[in-house]
Amino acid sequence: MKLKHAFLMISMLLAVSGAAFAEPAAADAKPALAVRIFSFKFKQADKAAAAIKPLLSKEGSMSIQPSTNSLVVTDRAENLKSVAKMIGDFDKEPQSFRLYVRIVGASKVEGSPKIADDLKDVARKLAILPYNSFESVGEATVQGKEGDPGLIDMQTGYRADFKFGEYDPASDSIAVNDLQIAKLTGAQKDQLTSLLKTSLNLTIGQTYILGASRAPQSQRALMIVLVARR
């Protein structure tokens, strides 16, 4: 009888303590959700949605309202605070950036290579490529805000035009959209021929070299050095 009583007591203790421990989890099972509408002044709501998604809980959801450029977010109150902070950081007035662009012609030549002093640093970074001669085609720095167009005309007949894209705080990078490198060709140098067109993401402060050639064994390549700064 004593053993049975002890067994019953232990079981009851387990049940009570288990229920007590499980109470917070049970309480979280049905959290109170709130709804909040975020309207954007400067940025597109769909762009913010991607950044907000990781902040939402399992119960959270959101919907984009393109007509009002707003985002309807449903989640716990504490998560909505995080979302509001993120949106506050995101939906800011377009920021201004400077984009440094330098175009370098790289070629493989017989005999003594030609490398200008100011291109030795670039040549060293491209040592893995089969080019031994580097010549500067032109360089310029363009300043603009997010969404602004940029245009660089070089005396050598090369042109770079692009559009400042949006700044992404998560990767600390600026998009350079529709970058087109073109060249004046023809006997009179009056025909603008597009060489390449691309869109890039540049981490602020990092140096990028985008090279273009017909094939890895080509004798000639165009190197575009890009640096974005605030």
């Binding site: 079981s11 809980s57 716990r76 273009a212 050639s213």
Partner: protein, 175 residues
Amino acid sequence: MMTCHYFRANLQPGNADAALLEHLRHCDACLDYAMSIDPDLFFRSLGGDELVPPGGVDAFVGDVMSQVRVRNAETALAPHRTVSAWQRWALAATIAVGVTGATLAYRYEHSAPAPQRVAQTLLSVQAAKPHPAPTATKSFVETYSSHNATIVEMPSDGSDTKVVMIFDDKLPADL
């Protein structure tokens, strides 16, 4: 052996006949009857004034011990009190609830941090720095006009310069 009929026919109040009293020790039915005739008969059957039970001490002790053995045997043979079906179900349910509750509590306490907690941590880390460290990276070349081109990221020379080559046979030879 004295019959009950003979005992009842000869029983008188105050009677101390040893044979009658001995019958009384063996017959519970006559004991009740005798008690109604003479309540003192019970005590006299135990031995009376001389403290010697009728039939002798040995017989009395033998009767007592036989009664003890009989009652022990009855206790041993009596069905044990068992837990009824509903008690068993209640017990099982209690244990199940206890174990389940404890398991849920353990999982809740040791579960991985919720996504929003991670995000909040990242945000707090970002807020502490004047220029937030990137928490994500994007590919350098997002799009390129030709789908047949090969885009290769060259090995880094140790500096922070990133070199990416585009090999496109549609490019002019005199770049």
